[in-house]
Symmetry: C2
Subunit: 215 residues, 2 copies
DNA sequence: GTCTATAAGGAGATAGAC
DNA sequence: GTCTATCTCCTTATAGAC
């Protein structure tokens, strides 16, 4: 009889968990439901995972990295801040609407992590990855256009990330795609005013320190 | 023996549900946990509520209205769009950080409603209330300053609501209050550029229609 | 009219048969 | 090395004793 290896079983269960969570939600993804989805006996779950928490960590980490990869893909740069942002965010929004189930799952995973003792760091890691990727994107735009972000990249990325995350959550509720797209255009127009000409600062000065911290 | 009336029992259970959900999360608020918190026998739950869904609707509706009332309270208007927004949003943020548990509970309620068959309309109602209140606020600012929102109040309120909702979710994860406040300042500065001079339009013209729709 | 006791089923985790 | 069968505890809901 062709037995399955532990590594293969592990991957089967991760894939099954992913399907159950996108289809029925994170709360519905019991070890039983996951094992059934994978056509695996229930005991095989605890044979390859020490606990459900271990599976949640793997699923979260791989989905976050996958979505960040997909999101960063369509972000082309032109010399102009406004048009870079506009094209980049509309591209991102296409990906987002096309992966609605995964997006909802990511929200649920973050919320679940926040409430589960021992899992709080996972939600924090997830959002640090988001914030890091957003900062990277804004830096790239600023470099291409020869500008800098006011008052700092740190603050600008929080403004952008907050808008996008909130836009997504609101859209998951009301699915108003038209208004979401119009909101992106209006946001880009106003947000671009935070891109200001680069100031040349003397090394070691207070504003040089500030510029370094901001980067 | 002084027996309790059904109406009193109902209110006791609602209050208890509120305490359990703010303390332990919506997912932890089982009928047992709620009844225990209210020091009531478990069966009294289904004596006054036909189902758990009925309780969730009551809890959600009363909390949304309560938070909207608290949020709208500190929103003073000056003649200037930027300073009105800045003071208003910082005031709102004070309330928000001071009611973190309730805010997290509202996210959880919305997410739970979205995933629960028969409860989807509750999440939609919740966000319609948010969007309605935000539009009202933006209208009041525009009236006080004698300006209008571009491209429309509908779109501007979605930009503002998205930013605030996303800022809140991000803060619930990383609790970075300093960055959140700085993000509000940066956002206000850029968002205020969507307030433009009012155009006087001939009644019945295409742009008059547009202005009416926008209102 | 109120609540004890129980039904009916789902959860995570594991002992021990094979 | 794999999985059947079970343990313990949890859930919503209700029958029926008082």
């Amino acid at each position: 009889m062709a037995r399955i290896t532990a590594a293969d079983r592990r991957q089967q269960l991760i894939d099954a968990a992913f399907r159950v969570m996108t289809r029925d939600g994170v709360a519905a993804a019991s070890t039983r439901a996951i094992a059934a989805e994978a056509s695996a006996p229930l005991a095989s779950f605890h044979y390859v995972f020490s606990s459900k928490e271990e599976l949640l960590r793997e699923v979260t980490e791989s989905l976050v990295e996958k979505m960040l990869g997909a999101a960063m893909d369509g972000l082309e740069l032109t010399g102009d801040v406004s048009s870079s942002l506009r094209h980049g965010l509309h591209n991102l929004w296409e990906v987002t609407e096309g992966t609605a189930a995964e997006q909802q799952m990511l929200f649920e995973l973050a919320q679940h992590s926040l409430r589960t003792p021992g899992l709080e760091d996972l939600a924090r890691w997830q959002y640090e990855r988001y914030f890091g990727a957003t900062a990277q994107y804004l830096e790239a735009i600023a470099d291409a256009a020869g500008v800098q972000w006011a008052p700092s990249v740190k603050v600008a990325r929080r403004v952008l990330m907050s808008f996008l995350d909130g836009l997504l959550f609101g859209w998951l509720v009301d699915r108003n795609s038209k208004e979401a797209r119009e909101a992106i255009d209006a946001f880009v127009e106003s947000f671009a005013t935070l891109a200001v000409p680069r100031t040349i600062v003397a090394p070691g000065s207070a504003s040089a320190d500030q510029a370094r911290r901001a980067a």
